[in-house]
Structure formats: C-alpha cells, structure tokens
Amino acid sequence: MLALAAYQDRYGYELVASISEKFHISEGSVYPLLRRLTQEGLFVTYLAESQEGPPRKYYRLTERGRIYMNDLILEWHVFSRGVNQIIEEGLGYDEA
C-alpha cells in the first residue's frame, strides 16, 4: 500500500483497485487500513476536485512513511531470498 503511493499521490479508489487486481480481498478492508496508516503518520490526506464526479481524497506518503516503507521492503527482500533459497535447495535435492 505504501509502495503504491510512493511516486505519486493516489486516491482511495485507485489504491483499492490496484490491490484487488492482484489479490482477492474484500475491498472494504482497504479503507480502515488506510485510516490506520494515516493515524500513524505514514500518510497525509487531502481533498482535491476532479474533472468529473466528487472531490477525491488523496493519500500522500510522508517522510516517516517512506522510511518505514524502505525498512519493510528490505525485510521482504531478505525474507523472500531465504524462502527462494530453501525452495531451490529442496527442488535441487529432489532431482539429484
């Protein structure tokens, strides 16, 4: 979620749509999550008019949010590398 808004401010609907494209989630859960991330100071929100339809609430990643995101990404890389190594070793062992 943090990464989705890393290079460009996003509005809620966009964030929900990009997440639910890739994972089967109940879309309603995304807004409470966005709220908590905002309360923790990882996002700030602002309203902006759009050409059509209602004004949209945009989410902007804060400096704190960016630092936190980078920590999480690093953690994820370490974790996924570990899992990949285990899978490769496991499969390699089976073939031998």
């Binding site: 997440i19 109940s26 879309e27 409470p32």
Partner: protein
C-alpha cells in the same frame, strides 16, 4: 445491496464512534461508490466487492480502540482494544487472547511475590507466634525484614516499568494483527 443500504448499515454500526471519525469513514465509502459508478459499475457490484458493512465496521472499531489505548493508557482501553481485535475472527482469539492471558498470569505472579516481600515485617508484627524461633536474634530479624522490603520494593518498581513496556509492546502486536488484510 445498494449504496444507500450499505452506507446506512455502516452508519448504524458506527453510531457510537465520534462524529468526526464516523462522517469521515462514511465519506470514504460514498466516494468509493460514486467513482465506481462513474467507471460503469453497478451499485450492487460495488457493494459486493466491498464486502459486508459488518466486516468493515469491525475493522474500523478495532483500529479506533487500539488508537485510543495508545493515546490514553488504561486497563479499560486495552481491554476494549483486545475485545475489538478478537471480534475480527477466530485467528485472533488464539493469537491475541492467548498471549494476553499468559502475560497477565505472569505479571500477577510477580506482583504477588513483590507484595509478599513488602509485607513480611507486617506479618511479624501481626502474628507474633511467627517470631517464636528467631525472636532471640533481634538483629537477624531486623536485617531479614530490611532485605525483604528492599527486594520487594525493587521488584515492584521494576515490575511497574515492565508493565508499561509490555502494554506498549502488546499494542504494537495488536496493531500488527489488525493490519493484516484478510481474503474474501
């Protein structure tokens, strides 16, 4: 379910939330419906993909309770935060309530030890028969009492700090639990 039904049900479920939060949340979902509608989806489709207002309300409440317990530390607030988190599903009964009970148990045990140590001198004062064996050596008794009270006091202060620290850590753990998005 139409937009109106969804918003009205959510509104009713969040009735006890402060107005500012409640209206903010309702406007998020109204905005979601309006944009979805513009993109050519029907209200029913949008509502179905959002999931039930009940699930949404539970998640909102859990987030709110945890936030409250963080800003205003009290036993009541952390209990409400735990209850709200537990209501999110079976997983949390095991992984939230379990560790919490264990922690409380250990804390109560340590506090009992500290309090017992602090009250040793009073025990001697109120139950003179306890003195029978060692009353000959008044000095030993005095030092014994002092040691006991000293240890009890140190343990007690250390426990208070530990409790504060555990309170914060446990809230972080709650937050981590609530931040997981569940599948459909």
């Amino acid at each position: 379910m139409t937009r109106r039904e969804f918003i009205e049900e959510l509104n009713a479920l969040l009735a006890d939330l402060p107005d500012k939060d409640r209206l903010d949340i309702l406007s998020d979902y109204t905005e979601h419906f309006l944009i979805g509608f513009e993109k050519g989806k029907s209200e029913h489709e949008i509502a179905e993909q959002l999931g039930s207002p009940k699930t949404v309300a539970r998640e909102v409440w859990a987030g709110y309770r945890i936030h409250q317990a963080q800003t205003d530390a009290s036993i009541g607030n952390i209990s409400r935060a735990i209850l709200a988190t537990v209501s999110l599903g079976f997983f949390n009964i095991v992984f939230v309530l379990g560790p919490f009970m264990a922690l409380i148990g250990v804390l109560i045990a340590f506090y009992s030890v500290a309090i017992t140590l602090l009250f040793v001198p009073f025990a001697f004062a109120f139950f003179p028969p306890l003195l029978a064996d060692i009353s000959e050596n008044r000095l030993l008794m005095l030092f014994g009492c002092l040691t006991s009270v000293g240890l009890g006091g140190m343990l007690f202060i250390w426990l208070l700090r530990l409790t504060v620290w555990l309170y914060r850590q446990f809230l972080r753990y709650l937050q981590f639990n609530v931040q997981m998005i569940r599948g459909k």
